[in-house]
Symmetry: C4
Subunit: 208 residues, 4 copies
């Protein structure tokens, strides 16, 4: 199998899933009986409520972006992908492509306990699917090239922290959905900020 | 003609068609007269009905994913694509791109006889279009490079089984749509599971 | 400038524009007071009206596909793209990306004189933009490599026929929209069928 | 990190964001009590109001296209992208992907002061994010290869003009939204026309 086409397909799916997120910000049906001035008033009112949808958009965009960056960083070191690897990759992509849906529910109806937990559960599932892909790819590569290091517990830790906190967030959401949203934001910042402000060794702290 | 651009275009179309599937899960218009608590109740009720749409999403995603994996596996062995091959490929892509539509009907209205048969008929058409592409590519490649083996009946069999069962499913749907859905699921698992659990020889049992 | 990235971007835009066409087939709001059987009846009624939307989908898909094939065939022979070439390419892409919109109007409201003429006018504009791109690319390539042949009138003819018939179709639509649709279908078949049934010399009869 | 995958992902995101713009042109709900003739009348009425949405579409398409051309031109000269560069790129892409949303508001409700300012603010943010990316990439490249020139003030000027005029447009919009739209159009033409009519030295006057 040709790894370049798997990479291209994967990049395409990530690129599309991340771009579709904007379609989930609801275009309002504004009506104003008193012409353009009233319509502008209604539009101002609508724009003032965009804080929540914008945060949700940024959160989903950032989270999908992190997973893509990690996929990119991990798979650059892998030289081969077999059919099992492709099926595992499809599983990850199926969850990534699904993200616009819980994003839409959260964006449209705000942080309700149920929809915020559903959002966190989707991120948890994505995080687990990513770990499965990483584990499989690293082991397979080690089989082909024994010099390729298997992942140590310490290397796997940053990724596990992400999975754990998404799951905690999903549970917290059932009682305190607003706190859960900030847990998801904290996880995203934990992965994005080191890239911006710290020059860590490549390959660590990149898994979500 | 440049096969790399056909591959890139094809991968792009598959990536987009598979990603658009999520847009077909209907975002509900929830209303609750009694504020956030009532809205959460309504959201829970809605989330509880998502079993069918999620299965439909997974089924369409898995089926398009299989066809992509097969396209990928087959065309990696082909070195040349002419205008006829490109037109046949466009025919396949036109059906692949159409899949979000029967998926939306099935997802939104559940397994009605008519829409479930329409869904199966689309898969049957995709399967036939894929077989046409494969046959043409293999024959053309054999013309250019006589060492390239033409497909034997035994190699073509797994693909034919998929086509046959999609057609059977489409007919069964007219009487028992729920059983038809499980036939489609069985075909998807038949192609996906060997990739996950069995390490078959590459190149066999990959056609849907 | 890097022609590979222009090719990749162009392929991506074509792939997405062609895939978005399916979103323009309207998902109906079916209601049935008498449960699943009545809903299936309503679905059958809806599916029976899909002939027009399906033809429109196939027509737009085929036409965009032809333009992509031609772009692909032409630009494979070009080695260089400058900023003017990129801006001309953006102009073509802006029209290609616009096609889902007249397709949606035609698909949803059937062959009305106004929307059918609008559809044909869009195709005419795309055809002219494609000719501009082709002319510019061929002349630029000839400047760089004088051995590269400038296009003769005979080579340009098949493309001109497409442009002419799209324009005729757009005018005919104002009086007889159904006939105009068949003119558009005839143009698509004129470009697609030779690829399927005749092995012409590469490079001729491919421009729309 | 593999710059080719960053390029591919970026091209994919730009290609999708630019293609989604057409979905923001609102498909009308036309109703006519008096059959096809009345429906055609209603369609003519609707098509006559498309001037604004078409201008908005062209403006957003052109602006995203310019940023893509510039990204393309700048990053062709860069050989390396690190995690910080990727995170900055994600920031730019998050804004590019967001553009269909203010485009939809402007297209649907016309040039209201609030939505026209919001549209300009988004362009200003995109322009600043692009400048950050460019600055970082050029400095990083200079670190690796001291022969690579850092950007002089004169080179940075054309890009700064774009940022400045988007910001001015966003402020003007609050009082005179129609004039603001023409400021945005003027910025787009300032970047597109030289590509069409003047053969400037490559690498200058390309930043928005």
């Amino acid at each position: 199998m040709n790894k370049a086409r798997t990479d291209a397909f994967t990049d395409g799916v990530f690129a599309i899933a991340i771009t579709l997120l904007v379609l989930e910000i609801h275009i309002p049906e504004l009506k104003a009986p008193d012409g353009a001035a009233g319509l502008d008033q209604a539009m101002r009112g609508y724009l003032a409520t965009l804080g929540g949808p914008l945060l949700t958009y940024a959160l989903s965009f950032g989270t999908v972006g992190i997973i893509w960056l990690n996929h990119h960083a991990t798979f650059a070191r892998i030289s081969y992908v077999d059919r099992t690897g492709n099926v595992l990759n499809l599983l990850l992509l199926a969850i990534v492509c699904f993200i616009p849906f819980p994003t839409a529910l959260l964006s449209r109806y705000g942080p309700l306990p149920s929809s915020t937990a559903f959002y966190g559960a989707t991120f948890t599932a994505m995080s687990i699917a990513y770990a499965l892909n990483w584990q499989y790819a690293v082991r397979k590569q080690h089989e082909i090239d024994p010099a390729f290091p298997v992942m140590t517990f310490r290397e796997a830790l940053p990724g596990t922290i992400g999975t754990l906190f998404y799951a905690i967030g999903a549970l917290v959401a059932l009682i305190a959905p607003r706190i859960a949203v900030w847990i998801y934001v904290a996880v995203a910042l934990y992965y994005l900020l080191p890239g911006l402000f710290v020059q860590r060794g490549r390959g660590t702290a990149v898994s979500a």
